[in-house]
Amino acid sequence: MNLAVFAVRRVARLVLSLIAVSIIAFGLLQLAPGSFADISNLAAEESSTVTAEMQQRYGDEVPVWQQYLGFMKGALTWDMGPSYKYTGQNVEDIIATSFPVSATLAVVAVIIALCIAIPVGVFSALRQNTPWDYGSMFAVTIWHSLPPYLVGTFLMLLLSGTWHVLPSRGWSGPENMIMPVIALALGPAAVMTRYVRSSVLETLREEYVTAAFAKGGARRLVIRRYVLRNSLIPLVTVAGPVLANLMTGTVFIEWIFGIPGLGQYFTDAAASRDMPLLMGTTLFFAVILMVTNLVVDLLYGFLDPRIRATAGAR
């Protein structure tokens, strides 16, 4: 199989999956009870007749499959029309303005997580079974067990509520990122630290590391050139999904810290049955996930000469 065929197949699978995702999402939405209606501020609710009016407007006059095709056409042309709920805003504009926020949070969180995971993981592995190792692994496992929304809540109470050093919410500058990023990064940092540690330990046992020492390599050099290179390349496969998950899963953090990311819109759209926005965000997330997975595969292939070579041969 040559590279072109491989690429075409891969893309074809991608497209098929996207179609499947869109159909499933659309189907689930059709099955789900409730339909879109104006969910104005219920506290300020004025009259029940408004919602009846809405029912009339967004009734079921159009066949389901036509709605689906219409939406897909819009999605393909990046023109998904206005959101039901956020009237006056087009779905693609909502995505275009809010996704970069979620993505930034996710990317920074992953970078921070890597900055924690690599040194701590390597350090623990190199000092396996010392108090350092036990201590850091203990700490890491505890982080791992704290859901981000709890970390976020406690951080806010502590840093904003008690110490008054950071703004509790909003998105006006880097200071707004500190708490959300910490809350988001801890879990992935823990996962990746554990991964790095075991990966380094495994690599340390490899014969080529012994061989490198046998050639008279200085420890630091051997660690860097032989151990780190071979144990960190697989980290890409972990960091990729983590990143993709974060990009789609920042919703709690966005919610707690009042950050205008896409996750908030999605949740809101799901609860209020804002079909265009919900379908738009779902499909967009699907594409993001696929692209991330693809990039991870390519990056892994690029970093690991074995895969690079076999891919080239295909």
Binding site: A32, P33, G34, S35, F36, A37, D38, I39, S40, N41, L42, A43, A44, E45, S47, S48, T49, A52, E53, M54, Q55, G59, P82, K85, Y86, T87, G88, Q89, S98, V101, T104, V108, I111, C115, I118, L126, S160, G161, P167, S168, R169, G170, W171, S172, G173, P174, M177, L204, V209, T210, F213, R219, R224, L228, G258, I259, P260, Q264, S272, R273
Partner: protein, 587 residues
């Protein structure tokens, strides 16, 4: 393998550099303009007067689209013909500095002030108002996005032919009773005298819009760069879901009374925990305490001087769900359930919560005894009369809600304990809630809701659970089904549909509901406010006795207000207060 105890420093450094760079990069592009300075505020040393407050996240700022945004329009972005006074009980001059009413009370003439102008310098004209009202009342809305019709609110104003135009039975806007008789003169013709007309004009949907801007940017006119309005403030920045910044309108006619240099509104998304941490952390100067946060502030001596309450601002209620099971069509059963609701218990759970005995707030002066009180013995008696002694044979009830509410849990508990009636709370998403409220359920029950209480009798009768809605509530389930089919029938022309619906209501609505309709109409047609109130009190009593809804609690709205915020008039209206007149004094 024996391995060294040193760390590869270079890779760590590299990672740190990358992270810093990423932070720096992202800081330039993805945040808002970032010109906000959290240290500037009521407590700050800076001379600029910046009010930092919070609001529920608006989906739109179009006053014709029902969203939280219309109240921001009302708070200071636009100015209507008249504005409310400090208590919300009457009106003051706004864009109109004078007005008069004909003797029969049906023709109102408003004179626009000479210096009323748009923020771009254009003069505000009567034609602008006319254009706006046509947009408001045009069926289907004028712009593509204007779909959520605030127009229906205006039925209560009683403008001649307005409802007909909206319904489509009148198609020429010229026939509607609004006329720009001169550039600075606007005339309304009403079907009947309406004592609530002036206050009705302060609804956001009656605010003027700038026609030229809206024609140029049908959708994007609410963006800061396109913004034109006639109120004391204009939109300077809008970072959706996060923050909105307003700055004074230099062309406003009354800049002397505009003291704030900037208003920063933190926008809270629905369901977001509105933690007063932001207040404690000196990020906002004025915010409403929502839900459970009242516990740590209300009755806390440290905050006594920082809490301002708007009493009985909200009312919670349970309203009848249509069901194929007719058990709740017996008014005795509904009354029994109401009498054993446990209102006292709910009121005792939180500070600032009182028992609601009527849909009308107590402060409007309704005499005691109006509405529903608790009496368990009577409730048991009623239930037994209806054939369900000790709840035997009584079907399970459902309480539909879109958020957890303590009164529902208490009701479930109390009904089970006192009446032997079982009920379950069904907490669903908003989209489901909104739909299910109107559809016909297998299970009998109620849905839980809340209103902002009405500060005047007219609104209390004619807007919240207005006569038409009450009649609809009283329709038996099978008629309600037919009624909805007519409503949804796209083939009917609007006039035909309206008359069919009317016919259904006339034929099937309960006698009580029709009596309420009659009393309300009678009250609305009184030119004299006092005479009207008499009818309204009667109407309210009739409405409460239908037990189609069960009022539960009246809830105070509590605001945290930082010392130094002056000129703040909190009213019981949805917009709560105007930005105009608010100032911040350094302590």
């Amino acid at each position: 393998m024996a391995v060294p105890h040193t760390m590869p420093k270079r890779s760590v450094q590299a990672a740190a550099v990358v992270a810093t760079a990423a932070l720096a990069l992202s800081a330039c592009s993805i945040f808002g303009d970032g010109d906000t300075d959290p240290t500037v505020g009521a407590g700050g040393e800076n001379d600029a007067q910046v009010l930092r407050t919070t609001w529920s996240n608006p989906e739109s700022l179009d006053p014709h689209v029902i969203s939280n945004g219309i109240w921001i329009d009302q708070q200071g972005l636009f100015e209507g013909l008249v504005v409310q006074n400090s208590t919300g009980s009457d009106v003051e001059a706004g864009t109109a500095d004078e007005w008069e009413v004909s003797e029969d009370g049906t023709v109102w003439t408003f004179h626009l002030r000479d210096d009323a102008s748009w923020s771009n310098g254009d003069a505000v004209t009567a034609q602008d108002f006319l254009w706006t009202y046509e947009r408001l009342l045009t069926p289907g809305g004028s712009g593509a996005g204007n779909t959520t019709g605030a127009n229906s609110y205006q039925v209560a104003l009683g403008i001649a032919n307005a409802s007909e135009f909206l319904a489509g039975t009148v198609t020429d806007f010229a026939e509607v009773g609004i006329e720009a008789s001169a550039d600075d003169q606007l005339v309304f013709t009403l079907d009947a005298p309406n004592p609530g007309f002036l206050l009705g004009l302060t609804h956001p949907s009656m605010l003027p819009l700038h026609p030229a801007t809206l024609e140029e940017f049908p959708q994007e006119w609410t963006e800061p760069e396109n913004w034109v309005s006639n109120g004391p403030f204009v939109l300077d920045e809008w970072q959706r879901n996060v923050e909105m910044t307003l700055v004074p309108n230099e062309n406003y006619w009354d800049t002397e009374n505009v003291h704030l240099d900037e208003v920063e509104i933190q926008l809270y998304a629905s369901g977001e925990p509105v933690s007063p941490v932001a207040y404690d952390n000196d990020e906002v100067d004025l915010m409403q305490l929502v839900g459970e946060d009242v516990f740590s502030y209300v009755d806390n001596p440290e905050f006594t001087d920082q809490i301002r309450a708007v009493e009985q601002r909200n009312i919670t209620y349970l309203a009848l769900l249509r069901s194929t099971n007719p058990v709740l069509e017996d008014v005795r059963v509904r009354e029994a359930l109401s009498l054993a609701l446990g209102r006292e218990i709910v009121a005792g759970l939180q500070p600032g919560v009182a028992v609601a005995r009527s849909l009308v707030p107590e402060y409007l002066g309704a005499e005691h005894g109006l509405g529903q009180d608790e009496d368990i013995a009577r409730a048991q008696e009623l239930l037994a009369d209806a054939g369900y002694h000790d709840g035997e044979g009584f079907p399970e009830l459902m309480l539909l809600t879109e958020a957890p509410r303590p009164e529902l849990d208490v009701a479930v508990d109390q009904w089970a304990e006192n009446l032997g009636v079982t009920a379950t709370v069904n907490n669903v998403e908003r989209g489901v809630y909104v739909e299910e409220r109107w559809s016909i359920q297998d299970t009998p029950g109620f849905y839980s809701g809340s209103f902002i209480t009405r500060t005047n009798w007219n609104d209390a009768i004619n807007t919240t659970f207005n006569p038409r809605t009450m009649e609809e509530f009283s329709l038996p389930a099978e008629v309600w089904e037919e009624y909805q089919e007519v409503q949804a029938d796209e083939d009917l022309d609007p006039g035909e549909r309206a008359s069919q619906l009317q016919a259904l209501r006339d034929a099937h609505a309960s006698a009580g509901a029709q009596e309420f309709t009659a009393l309300a109409a009678e009250g609305s047609s009184q030119p004299d406010l006092e005479a009207a109130t008499g009818y309204f009190v009667d109407a309210a009593e009739v409405r409460d006795d239908l037990y189609l809804y069960l009022p539960v609690t009246l809830i105070d709205a509590n605001y945290l207000v930082r010392p130094g915020v002056e000129g703040l008039n909190l009213r019981g209206t949805p917009d709560v207060y105007y930005f105009k007149g608010v100032s911040i004094t350094g302590e």
